[in-house]
């Protein structure tokens, strides 16, 4: 077989893939991608504080959040105003520290270069905004291109790009949950509330060693839904793995069991959160797998199905 023929053949075989790629890019509104980037950057750069409502079914929670960025990094607080008296703090998160989820959203220039990135997995569409927390907004419809993730309706602050309201939708366009700012103020941030019953210092990189299972063998997740990537490097025997596509995150937990239990699966769903548990074997080891994340049950099940003992 001569070389030009091989080249021609290769060209023919590759053509559909290349076409499909540029097709997805062409289908994507560069302005929408710019807003996505602006949203991600504003979430890390601005100084603001406000009151946020979080709704799941009939359940409504209210919380206060604050965010301030300076030379030492980003300091954030989250205080529950309803239900449990609890506060989460993250202090001086280094400005140069960029996590995979953020990288996936800030791909504006790649689109022009023919890299579709997150647009391979979601279709983005700009729409008419509305007034939220006394701010004018831009609406960004985010529709999944496959069944592995949920869709979103996002409202971004027209001036700053900050995410003011997000509704998570399933395939049937059922609203799973919504969070929205009821009030927001840009500028200097008051001190976080005091006298809160439980204060949790958010860790970075997070490693909540106490409640995590210890595993004495190596394991892998042999399949991931397209577009998902590990949130942080882990050792192959860590009990937790987390993955993100930029908008959704799910975590896989593996607990070794002393004795095999009857194989089975169970699910609870609350808002957009799925908790899927299955008793199974990884190689010869009986294990209990739990997938927790803002993804459909199918995704959790298929990921669980791909858990293997590593050799």
């Amino acid at each position: 077989m001569n070389m030009p023929f091989v080249a021609l053949l290769a060209g023919l075989l590759l053509a559909p893939a290349v076409y499909a790629q540029t097709d997805v890019c062409r289908d994507t509104d560069p302005q929408a991608i710019e807003w996505l980037k602006k949203m991600s950057q504003s979430a890390h750069a601005s100084a603001y504080h406000g009151v946020v409502t979080f709704q799941r079914g009939d359940d409504l929670e209210v919380m206060q959040v604050s965010h301030v960025a300076d030379d030492t990094g980003v300091t954030e607080s989250f205080t529950r105003l309803t239900g449990q008296g609890a506060q989460v703090l993250r202090q001086q998160h280094a400005p140069e520290c960029v996590h995979p989820g953020q990288q996936l959203l800030e791909m504006g220039n790649d689109l022009a270069a023919g890299e579709c990135g997150i647009a391979n997995y979601y279709r983005f569409e700009l729409g008419q905004g509305q007034r939220i927390a006394d701010r004018e907004s831009v609406r960004l419809n985010v529709m999944p291109r496959d069944v592995y993730r949920y869709g979103y309706i996002l409202y971004l602050d027209r001036e700053t790009g900050l995410l003011l309201q997000a509704t998570t939708m399933d395939r049937g366009n059922t609203k799973l949950e919504r969070f929205a700012y009821a009030d927001i103020t840009y500028g200097p941030v008051p001190k976080p509330r005091e006298n809160v019953a439980v204060v949790h210092e958010a860790e970075h990189p997070s490693q909540d060693v106490q409640s995590l299972p210890e595993v004495d063998f190596d394991w892998t997740v042999a399949w991931l839904p397209p577009g998902f990537t590990a949130t942080q490097p882990v050792s192959s025997s860590d009990g937790q793995r987390s993955f993100t596509d930029g908008l959704a995150v799910f975590s896989v937990f593996l607990e070794p069991l002393d004795v095999a239990i009857a194989p089975g699966e169970g699910v609870v769903r609350w808002g957009s959160t799925t908790s899927y548990t299955r008793g199974m074997r990884a190689g010869e080891f009986p294990v209990l797998i739990t997938v927790i994340g803002e993804v459909p049950v199918n995704t959790a099940r298929m990921v669980t199905d791909a858990i293997r003992r590593a050799n």
Binding site: A43, H200, A262, P263, G264, E265, G266, G279, D305
Partner: protein, 197 residues
């Protein structure tokens, strides 16, 4: 097996597949070993014996179900009980064993895979196949005019309880990651049932 089929299969189990998909899947399940294996793996109501290697497991359950009734029931219950000790009563463990057996009997019909059995396999599949393992509402199905009891996967209740407990236990560790990798700052912590120090 194609990813598309696995996807449809999973959707079927969640009652999210449409009618055309269901018909196609049932045909495919009957005709494809690989798909049937996955179906059985997904359909967790089947493994009445512990200590089996899932990768090389035969689907012939009838004998094993009898064995399970005769011998395995006590140890099965105690294994589950042991795991569930903090939360589950003996009643839960007992119902686990019972549902395993019921599921196993129905699924045993998948074992008859000879070509002459193909029609039976499809007919026998339907009641199992239509059951929504995660929700409470099975799709109506019947053997001829005879109504088929609604099946539940093994330890439906026990596993659901486990999923709820694990959400409580690991929800915060997941939220830590979500807070670092989604554009909502610390707001993902709102999903944690009880924030711990």
């Amino acid at each position: 097996m194609s990813e598309k089929l696995r996807e449809s299969l999973s959707a079927l189990m969640d009652d999210e597949a449409n009618e055309l998909e269901v018909e196609r899947l049932l045909r495919e399940v009957a005709a494809t070993d690989d798909l049937r294996q996955t179906w059985v793996r997904y359909h967790v109501a089947r493994d009445a014996l512990k200590g089996q290697n899932l990768e090389h497991r035969e689907i012939d359950l009838s004998q094993r179900v009898r064995d399970a009734i005769a011998q395995e029931k006590p140890s099965l219950s105690s294994a589950v009980q042991r795991l569930m000790r903090p939360v589950a009563s003996f009643a839960v463990a007992a119902s686990v064993a019972a549902t395993v057996v019921l599921g196993g009997q129905q699924l045993s019909q998948l074992g008859n895979t000879g070509p002459e059995q193909a029609d039976n396999v499809i007919a026998g599949m339907a009641p199992v196949g239509m059951v929504n393992t995660l929700g409470a509402t099975p799709v109506r199905a019947s053997y001829g005019s005879q109504a088929v009891p609604a099946l539940r996967p093994a330890s439906h209740t026990a596993y659901r309880e486990l999923a709820r407990l694990r959400l409580k236990q690991f929800g915060q560790a997941h939220a830590e990651q979500a807070a670092l990798n989604t554009p909502q700052g610390l707001i993902p912590f709102a999903r944690v049932p009880t924030i711990k120090q």
